[in-house]
Structure formats: structure tokens, C-alpha cells
């Protein structure tokens, strides 16, 4: 199991770092469906056999998490 989840997990961390830097609040109910759709259209990475690109989805979740919890506010 960890073989298949390690890459999305790293993606989540990177997404978290990036999401922290987006200063406006992202709408969860818009991005989750869009993430699923784009992930489906993107297709999985080869060797990671699953109908949709869950790496993409997990990274998006990481980004949203970072954005919604520890977002940086204020002017640059």
C-alpha cells in the first residue's frame, strides 16, 4: 500500500507549502469536484493503476489544507 501512496503523500507536502502562499481563501466545494474531473481527464501515472490521477487529487487536497489552515495574510 505504501508503494502506491508515498508519491501522493510527498505531493501533499509540496502542495501544503504552496497553498500556504495563496493569500485568498479558496472555495473547497469548487476545487474538490474540479480536482476529480481534472484528475480523471489526466489519467493516472503509469504503473500506478487506478482510474484517476490520485496524485493530482492528493496534491490538491494538500494545497487546500495549507490554504485553509495556515494561510499567510497581509500585503507582500
Amino acid at each position: 500500500m505504501i508503494e502506491y501512496l508515498f508519491l501522493p503523500f510527498i505531493g501533499m507536502i509540496l502542495g501544503f507549502i504552496l497553498g500556504r502562499r495563496i493569500s485568498i481563501r479558496l472555495n473547497l466545494w469548487f476545487y474538490l469536484p474540479v480536482g476529480v474531473i481534472v484528475g480523471y481527464l489526466l489519467g493516472p501515472l503509469p504503473y500506478y493503476n487506478f482510474p484517476l490521477s490520485y496524485s493530482f487529487f492528493f496534491t490538491l487536497i494538500g494545497l487546500l489544507l495549507g490554504n485553509l489552515t495556515v494561510r499567510e495574510k497581509g500585503s507582500p
Binding site: 502506491y4 509540496l14 479558496l26 490538491l60 494545497l63
Partner: protein, 255 residues
């Protein structure tokens, strides 16, 4: 006047000769198989270009990362970072041009820019991480993320840009990316005696757990991440420097 004409003629002649030489030698290339064949016979990771880039010729990639770092440093210096003398820049950048003009675009573009930037960023991360299996890797993914940043900056103007990559953040990210690359190389050297050795596993634990049949992944994804962070930071810094006067004013000691 006479000297200029002579020089023109000399330049034209050398251009003609040199151009003809270059064209003819490219035209008559015949590719020999040679050591090229070697790189196609062993599979390290499914993406053979990544294998060449990070395993066989990892040191070249390191050099190339460092050229980007040097370039960012020198671009910063052109705009006054740590110079010995600021007279020329003070003369060029007068007091009144200290402000940035942030117009931004119409609401249509602003509405679309944020979701596009978010999706581009996520796609960039996936491209970085999938560099050893699919076409892609650190450079491409990093360029995508910095493209997301540039998109947001173009749409909103630099002051109100929703993607807040501060200068300090980018500097840290860049140094971290390059140091990750260098230090992974050093770890390989400690474990095996070879710099940038592709460590498959430590005490039986694979360094990057991945599905079966994918070959010796080893440190390649981590190198990809390092390069990706560095390219993202480097390109973003360069863009920021090229569009902004504020940094120059700050560097040359005004405001």
C-alpha cells in the same frame, strides 16, 4: 567612416565563411551509434531521459542548477544587490520612478486567473513527482509552477497578487533545492564512495517506495524535487526582478 566600412566588410566575410562552414558541417552529420547504445540497454527508471539526466550525468544537472543560481544572483546584482558602488544605478533610477505601476487586468481575467493558477501549481507538482515515469521532471514542473505565479501576477498586478511568493521565501526555496541536490550527492559519497551515487536502499528500506516493476528509483525523485524547487524559485525570482522597481530602490538604499 573608412574604418567602419572595412570592419563591415571583414565581419560580412567572416560571417559568410563561418556560416557556410557551420551549415555544411551540420548538413553532413552522420550519427554513429557508439556509446549512445549503452544508455538504451539498461533500465534504471522507465523514463530514460531522466535516467541519463540524474543517474549517468547527474553532475551535469548539478552544474546546470548552479548556472541558474548564478544567473539569479547576477540578475539581482544588475539591479543593485550587494554591489561595491551604486552611483550608476542611482543615476538611472531616479527618486520619482521608485513606485511600481500595478494596473491589473479586467475582472474576467481576474476571475479565471486564480483557479487556473491553482490547477497549474498542482499539475506542476505532479509533473515534478512523476518525472521518473512520465515525460516531465524538475525543470518542466518548476517552470509550470512559476508560470502559475506569473499568470497571477500579470492578472492582478504585483501589489495585489494573490500568490504571495515573497523574495525571502523564494531565496530560501532556491537555496534549499540546490543544497538538497548537493547533500544527496554527498550522502551517496559517504555510503558508496561515489558522488551522486544512486542509493537504492538503506538497510533494506527503499528510499522512495514505488510500485513493482519500476526499476531502481533510488534518489531520483528527491533530486527531481530539489531541481523543481530551485527552478520554480529561480524563474519566479527572475520575473519579479525584471518587472519590479521596488527591489532596486530597496537595494540601492532608498526606501
Amino acid at each position: 567612416m573608412k574604418i567602419t566600412i572595412t570592419r563591415e566588410i571583414a565581419v560580412s566575410l567572416s560571417f559568410l565563411l563561418f556560416g557556410a562552414g557551420v551549415f555544411y558541417s551540420i548538413y553532413s552529420i552522420e550519427v554513429v551509434e557508439g556509446v549512445n547504445a549503452l544508455y538504451t540497454q539498461v533500465m534504471i527508471v522507465p523514463n530514460f531521459v531522466t535516467a541519463v539526466l540524474f543517474d549517468w550525468r547527474g553532475f551535469d544537472t548539478l552544474g546546470e542548477c548552479l548556472i541558474l543560481i548564478t544567473s539569479v544572483l547576477v540578475t539581482g546584482m544588475v539591479f543593485g544587490k550587494g554591489l561595491f558602488n551604486w552611483d550608476f544605478l542611482r543615476e538611472v533610477y531616479r527618486e520619482e520612478d521608485g513606485k511600481d505601476v500595478d494596473l491589473g487586468f479586467t475582472p474576467i481575467i481576474k476571475v479565471l486567473a486564480v483557479p487556473m493558477a491553482v490547477l497549474l501549481m498542482v499539475l506542476g507538482v505532479v509533473v515534478i513527482l512523476g518525472g521518473h515515469i512520465t515525460p516531465g521532471g524538475g525543470f518542466q514542473g518548476g517552470a509550470l509552477i512559476s508560470a502559475a505565479y506569473v499568470l497571477a501576477m500579470v492578472a492582478f498586478g504585483r501589489g495585489r497578487c494573490p500568490v504571495r511568493f515573497t523574495h525571502r521565501f523564494l531565496e530560501s526555496l532556491e537555496s534549499f533545492g540546490a543544497l538538497l541536490f548537493l547533500i544527496l550527492g554527498l550522502i551517496g559519497m559517504i555510503l558508496s564512495g561515489y558522488y551522486l551515487f544512486n542509493i537504492r536502499e538503506i538497510y533494506g528500506i527503499p528510499l522512495f517506495p514505488s510500485p513493482p516493476g519500476i526499476g531502481d528509483v533510488g534518489i531520483i525523485p528527491y533530486l527531481n524535487i530539489g531541481v523543481g524547487l530551485k527552478v520554480l524559485a529561480g524563474l519566479s525570482t527572475i520575473t519579479t526582478l525584471l518587472v519590479s522597481h521596488r527591489i532596486v530602490s530597496k537595494n540601492i538604499g532608498r526606501g
